[in-house]
Structures are given as structure tokens and as C-alpha cells.
Symmetry: C2
């Protein structure tokens, strides 16, 4: 018999709790696993010995279903990065002590590429000191920028929110008779996956987004204005999707100032809005989808949530098979009918690396998304959960604030 | 036999098309009504004789159900205000000519308090020239600021979006171990109804929003900072709801003005964010819910959509009963079980007027919403439509762009 530990890390998504449910539910089935400890605030909870016995928290199937429809990380999160142990191994010793004290035989870390760095470092350390504690990474990020895996848990739900919301913004933009430009700023630090995914609207007959700008394609203000004018000749309301991670002239992202002298920290949408206003002079607005694109579980993708649970479960089986230092990944077999298998990869091949949009996902003009890309994106946003409601809003599963302190 | 005309006006909501369906469906039942003309871009379509025969557009019950889940105005909108006819009656004559040419016996105008001004002016004019064309207003606005009616179509869906999204933002805000402040800016030009409605979360055990600022209560930056510090002592992640229409120091709000003299507002959220950053120095962010709060039909309130259809239908019956110059209204009989009746009121009593939050809807500190207010808001956000989906996003009903030109 052994116990296991699980933690959640990095920025919130709609699917991190589904992966937690996957780990928990699989552990319940395994006779060799006794307690499941939830580490509070990612790896910090292991370091500080702040863990919760999840069997005392998640009491029923209904709790698990609620958890799957609750965004963000029920156990809290962190952005803590393990130091190199050549420099300082104090933290490593602390982790070993706390895991051993609770007789933990496997640790599952749900997170992005920084968290996979933790999986890599810890598993290497345990091997070197001959400690038999498995360390397995369960990927998540709305950015979809992890290597090797076909896509990442959390991305499909974010993409579904972005597509559904952009379609609604299209309706909203078409009401007036005067020409207009609407710029929608989408998350993505360096890679344009989420911004690109908004082009799935083309598959259902929408002409919008009429322009899509991602960091992977070259961009200039002159080209942008030419593109906008070209689209305005064809459409009354031009819809532009732009990635927050676009390379723009120096100083823009930190230096954009609005009418009131306020600086905008993430300013590409506002920046382009000002350019359209000054250079074209038409009605123009910019919309930042903000954190809603990572936490709008009320319109999550069932495909994403189901897969996120499945990849959590697969992580447990992987550890029980004796593997460690691995990250669970999706390998796509087919777009249509959509088929994926779950496998594992070396954490060293995923940690601290980023995956960018393939060149052929962007059109030849560098201002929209290719048809080829759409067959990649479309399956990921399919299906809806039957959301359990509570007095008009989705019911969330939460842990008492005092237990998380 | 007569024909009728219907138009949509003002800012988009999730419920304007449901009211159009109400008018259309009721007209189908009435043997005395032949064609139903949809005027393109509000009253402008009547003036320019740009109307569509809706029986050629809305072909089935399924079309009507799709229309009910499609946000914004399928017939376009306008912000056109009729001139006083003492000054210029050219437009009035044009309207009469076009209505008569199409043998229109009743005109239904779905819109906010500006549109009710049009209803008032037109019906008075028709009376004075002894023209038997009924003019009936069907209210709509997410601002909920129309007089006499208990609430306005469109408000419940906006309130449901704001509440559901704020609950998701709460989850998103609680992930990290460091203290934070999140400021959510909610629409509402002068009245705080929509911002106040976010407090429905208190009825399901959420402590957020911890602070709610509406234009109806006095506000000062000093008081705000004191409030935030007080809440930070109790909660790790403080959530503040603030109305875009707050009175703030001069120069903060934008000076752009629309045709009715309304200022386009933006900036209070960013402004308060800067204040918290400079004065308290903690992690802080502001989120503008932007147009999503008026067009997120994917999470509309079934109560709102059903009522919006019903009030459209009631408008037709009102006209057939020989009334004119009236605006349809809701009168609430009971909060629980929630019961409303639909009646009519004089358009002169609603046009160009605004209704503000009652004093006792705000707490004594002026920084949150009273319990009493919650029984008003809660029924309005109940129920969900069974949204018909199309490849992962809600299916929308649209009219060919060329027909709207």
C-alpha cells in the first residue's frame, strides 16, 4: 500500500480540476493506493507540508462532476520554480522528507511547461538518491504551446469560449449601418494557437474573423492598415483577432497611454484601435477577452474536459507501471472521426520548451488562418457538459478557504 | 386585413430577437394580419423604405428558436432620434408615406428609452393627423433603467452573464497565495442595476463581490481605499464590482458623445486599478466585461428570453385592442414564486426617463448591495435555454448581409 500526492500549478484553465478528478478517480479504483493527498498551492504545499486528504473533501460522484465544471485550481496554484540542486538542495531534501513522512509513492503534477521542469528535476533527483517515488506530469495550458503532445488539456475549452464569444461579437458588431472595425485581443504569450483557433468560425459560414494576427507571422502597421482597408471594402463590420503576444514596435506594450493618461499593460488591442482611429477614422473598438477565456467553464468543451480527466487517470496507470519523469501526452490518430491516444514522453523533452503554430497554419498573406489548420482545431471544441446549475449560475465545487491557508 | 411593421433599435441585448419572435409569432396567429415587415436599422428602415417581408425570412419554428438564441438585432439597429416636428416634419411625412404605401396598420418598436421617445412622438403625430396606425413600444435594455416597468427585457440575461462570469473570476482569483484585488467593470451608463445584480452570488454562499460601487451611492477614492484595505484583512482575493457610470474625478471618463448626448464611458476600472497599485501596492487587475455582457446569448436567462417573447406578443394584442402610444411593461406580483403580468403604460411616461436603484437596494456603507435587493434580482436570472449547437458553437439565425444593405 502507498499514498499518492497531486498538485496543480500555473495559470488557471477550465480543465485542471478535471485532471485532478482523473487522478483521484483512478486512485480510488486501485487497491494498492490508500490516501490521495492534495498539495495546496502546487509544489509549495509539498515543500511546506501543506496537504489535504482528498478522500475527506471529494465525497461523491456528484462532487467529482461539480469539480469537472469548476474552473481554475481547487487546490490553489503557484509559479514556484525549483532551484538547480547543485546550487541549493535544501528544498529537495524538504520535499523528500515530507513525501516520505506521508508514505507517498507517486506525485502527480498538473501544470504547464514550468511545472514539467519540476517533474524533470524531481524525478532525476529521486533516481540519483535511489528513492522510489514516481513523478508524473499531467499537462495543462490554454496556450497549447507544449511540445510533443498534439494539444494540451484546457486549450479546447478556451478555444470554444473564444469562438463562441467571437461569433457573438460578430452579431453585436453588425447592428449599425456605419462601417466599423472591432479588434479582439486573445491570450497567448508567444504562440498564436488560441488566436488562430477563432478561425473555426469559417467552417460554419462566418466570414469573421476577417483578419487574424499571430506572433508566428510577420507584422507591420503599414500592412495592418492595408489589410483593414481591404476588408472594409468587402464587409461593413470588420472583425480582427490579434494575439496579445504580437511583436509590436518597441515600448508599445508597456507604454500605450489612453485618453486619460493611463498606461495599458497589455496593449496590442488598444494600440491597434488607436491606429485605426487615427489613420482610418472609422468607428473602432477593442475588446480584451481577459481571464474569461481561461475560466469560462460554463461553456467548456466536453471533449476537453473528458480528455483532461482521462489524461489524469492515465498518469496514475503510468506511475503504477513503474514509470517516472514522464509527461502524459495526446497523440492524434485522426481528425475525422477524431481519435487520440494517450501516451507518455520524457519530461526533459517538454520542460521549458514551447511549440509554435506550424508555418502552414497561417495563410500566405500572414493575416489569417489556413483551411488546413481548421481540421486540427475543430474537434477540440466539440461537445458540451450538462452543467449542474444552482440558482441561475453554475454550481462550483470549492474547498473551505480556511483549509487552503 | 392589414400589414404590420416591426423594428429594433439601440444597443444590442440577448433578448431583442426574442421580442421580434413574439411579435412575429403572434401576428402569424392573427387572421387580421397579413404581412409582417421588418424595418432594417430601426426607424431608419421606415424612413428609407427599407423593409423585409419577414414571412420570407423566418420560415419555421426552428428558425424562431434559433432567433431566440441569437444575440443583437437581426434587423440591424440605429441611434436615430426623430426631430421635433415643429422644427421639421419632413421625416414624419416620409414615414407616413412609406407606412401607408405598405398598408401598415401597426408599428412595433423594440428599444430603450430613446426608442420610446420615437413611439411617443409618432403616435402623437398620427393621432393629430387622424391616421389610424397604432404605435407600440416593446422595451429592451441591459441597463434596466426604464421607468414604470418592473424590469426590462435583456436585463436578466446580462445579469446572468455577469453573475456567472464573476463567479468564475472569483475562482480564477483565488489560485495564488499572495493577496490580490480584482476590479470588474460592469456596464450601466447612469444606473447601477447590472453592477448591483452581481451580488446575487451572495445568495449561493459566495462572499464576493466584496465591494460593489454603483452611481447611486456616494463615492470617494479615500473611502474606496479604506474599503479595500478592510476587505483585504478578511479575504485573500478581494473582488470589486464597479459600474462604468460611476462619478469619478473629472477627466477620467471619455469625452466621446453619441447622437443622444450620452457619453461613451470607459476607464473607471483601469483608474481604480492604478489607485490600488499606487496606494496599496498589492497584485491588482481590472477586467472590463465589455460587449460580452450584452451579447453572451450562450448563457442567457430562460426567464428573460421567455418574457421577452411574451412581451412582444402582448404588444401585438395591445395594438389589436385599439391602443396606441403605449409601451408594454412588466408588473411584478410576487418574488417567490416569481410572478409577473404584462400591462401597458403611456409612452410619454417612459420616453427619455431613467429609473435608478432604490436607496434601500444599497447597504448603509454605500459599498455593497442590500439583502432586500437580492430577492428582486434572483428570479430574473433563472433557467437556461437548450441552446442548439453547430459544430461546437451556438447556432445563430442571420439574414443575408446583402439584404441588410
Amino acid at each position: 500500500m502507498m499514498n499518492i500526492a497531486v498538485a496543480q500549478s500555473g495559470g488557471p484553465t477550465c480543465a485542471i480540476n478535471a485532471s485532478l478528478v482523473g487522478v483521484f478517480r483512478e486512485a480510488l479504483k486501485e487497491e494498492s493506493i490508500d490516501a490521495v493527498f492534495g498539495s495546496v498551492n502546487g509544489i509549495e504545499g509539498i515543500i511546506n507540508n501543506h496537504m489535504i486528504d482528498l478522500k475527506n473533501m471529494i465525497l461523491s460522484n456528484e462532487d467529482m462532476e461539480l469539480l469537472k465544471q469548476t474552473p481554475s485550481t481547487v487546490l490553489g496554484s503557484c509559479r514556484y520554480k525549483l532551484p538547480d540542486r547543485e546550487e541549493d538542495d535544501t528544498v529537495y531534501k524538504q520535499i523528500v522528507k515530507n513525501l516520505q513522512q506521508r508514505q507517498i509513492g507517486a506525485f502527480f503534477y498538473i501544470g504547464g511547461n514550468d511545472s514539467m521542469d519540476t517533474v524533470n528535476k524531481l524525478s532525476q533527483y529521486f533516481r540519483e538518491i535511489n528513492l522510489d517515488i514516481k513523478v508524473i506530469g499531467i499537462p495543462k495550458t490554454i496556450d497549447n504551446d507544449l511540445c510533443i503532445t498534439d494539444h494540451t488539456p484546457g486549450f479546447g475549452s478556451a478555444a470554444k469560449y473564444v469562438a463562441a464569444t467571437m461569433q457573438e461579437i460578430v452579431r453585436d458588431s453588425y447592428v449599425y449601418s456605419i462601417p466599423s472595425v472591432t479588434i479582439v485581443e486573445v491570450m497567448g504569450r508567444h504562440a498564436g494557437w488560441l488566436t488562430a483557433s477563432s478561425a473555426v468560425l469559417h467552417t460554419i459560414g462566418e466570414t469573421a474573423p476577417h483578419l487574424v494576427y499571430v506572433p508566428e507571422a510577420e507584422f507591420s502597421v503599414e500592412k495592418f492598415l492595408k489589410d483593414v482597408r481591404h476588408e472594409m471594402a468587402k464587409h461593413k463590420a470588420v472583425i480582427v483577432a490579434v494575439s496579445e503576444g504580437m511583436e509590436v514596435p518597441e515600448g508599445v506594450q508597456s507604454g500605450v497611454v489612453d485618453n486619460f493618461g493611463h498606461k495599458y499593460l497589455s496593449g496590442i488591442g488598444k494600440y491597434l484601435e488607436e491606429i485605426v482611429r487615427n489613420e482610418i477614422g472609422c468607428k473602432v473598438r477593442s475588446i480584451e477577452l481577459n481571464v474569461m477565456q481561461r475560466c469560462s467553464s460554463h461553456i467548456c468543451s466536453k471533449t476537453d474536459i473528458d480528455e483532461s480527466e482521462a489524461i489524469g487517470s492515465a498518469g496514475v496507470r503510468c506511475a503504477l507501471n513503474g514509470e517516472t519523469g514522464k509527461v502524459m501526452i495526446f497523440r492524434r490518430i485522426n481528425d475525422m472521426p477524431y481519435t487520440v491516444v494517450i501516451e507518455s514522453a520524457e519530461s526533459s523533452e517538454i520542460a521549458n520548451k514551447e511549440k509554435f503554430l506550424p508555418k502552414d497554419f497561417v495563410n500566405s498573406n500572414g493575416n489569417n488562418i489556413s483551411k488546413k489548420a481548421l481540421s486540427y482545431f475543430v474537434p477540440l471544441i466539440q461537445g458540451e457538459l450538462n452543467i449542474i446549475m444552482n440558482h441561475g449560475v453554475p454550481k462550483h465545487f470549492t474547498i473551505q478557504e480556511s483549509l487552503l491557508k
